[in-house]
Symmetry: C2
Subunit: 129 residues, 2 copies
């Protein structure tokens, strides 16, 4: 059973832009605009193992995600939970899937594929409006 209210599931299924919040080892907040895919249980994000957000999540897996409906910004959803898996994506397979899903017009950044990872956020609570 998902914690996501059915009437807000479209916000996870559409290729929108959400914000991922993490916490640094020093206890400071960080917030980044992200692509994502929802697999029915977890949100998946692409990232690299060389950036601050990765180091944050290795030290503290707590994460929160918020997204609004661009057609009605008063419809929004927040998910809180933990990143319970970080998987390597050395061939950029998941990155390429997102690049297609979001119809990105820029070239694939193949030079950073060796450092690419997939973050899996498992929500344990949802807040919607």
């Amino acid at each position: 059973m998902s914690v996501v209210p059915a009437q807000f599931a479209d916000l996870l299924e559409r290729p929108l832009y959400g914000s991922l919040a993490t916490v640094s080892p020093a206890g400071k907040a960080q917030s980044s605009i992200m692509w994502y895919v929802w697999d029915g249980e977890r949100l998946k994000f692409t990232h690299t193992a060389k950036r601050q957000k990765y180091r944050n999540l290795v030290a503290n897996p707590s994460a929160a995600f918020s997204v609004y409906d661009p057609e009605n910004p008063y419809r929004y959803l927040e998910l809180r939970g933990v990143v319970d898996e970080i998987a390597p994506d050395p061939d950029g397979v998941f990155f390429t899937e997102l690049h297609t899903r979001y119809s990105a017009s820029f070239p694939l950044p193949v030079s950073d594929f060796p450092d690419r990872v997939v973050l899996f956020l498992r929500p344990d609570s949802a807040h919607s409006h």
Copy 2:
């Protein structure tokens, strides 16, 4: 001098919807979609003194804000810093200013005005793309 790059200042000046990340006393991330006003030095948000985000900020003033350009989501801005002031807004004056700025169609929630506060986020770094 503001840390905000001049070519991204429009993202703060337009009435867009951003995400505010805070950290709970237990070290957990939280992310909320927010209205805001930029006064040239600080981002101002409306909130109430009865909610988790308020308790988070009283315990740990670290905060981060991210916003993207709905007309070009690959233009985005993150600000990190601290909430260095929380001011009471018992008559909902700031709430009402935001309600007008965002052309909100719902009635003013006057019953929660006594608990309304203004959060002031002073950024110490900016990340843009």
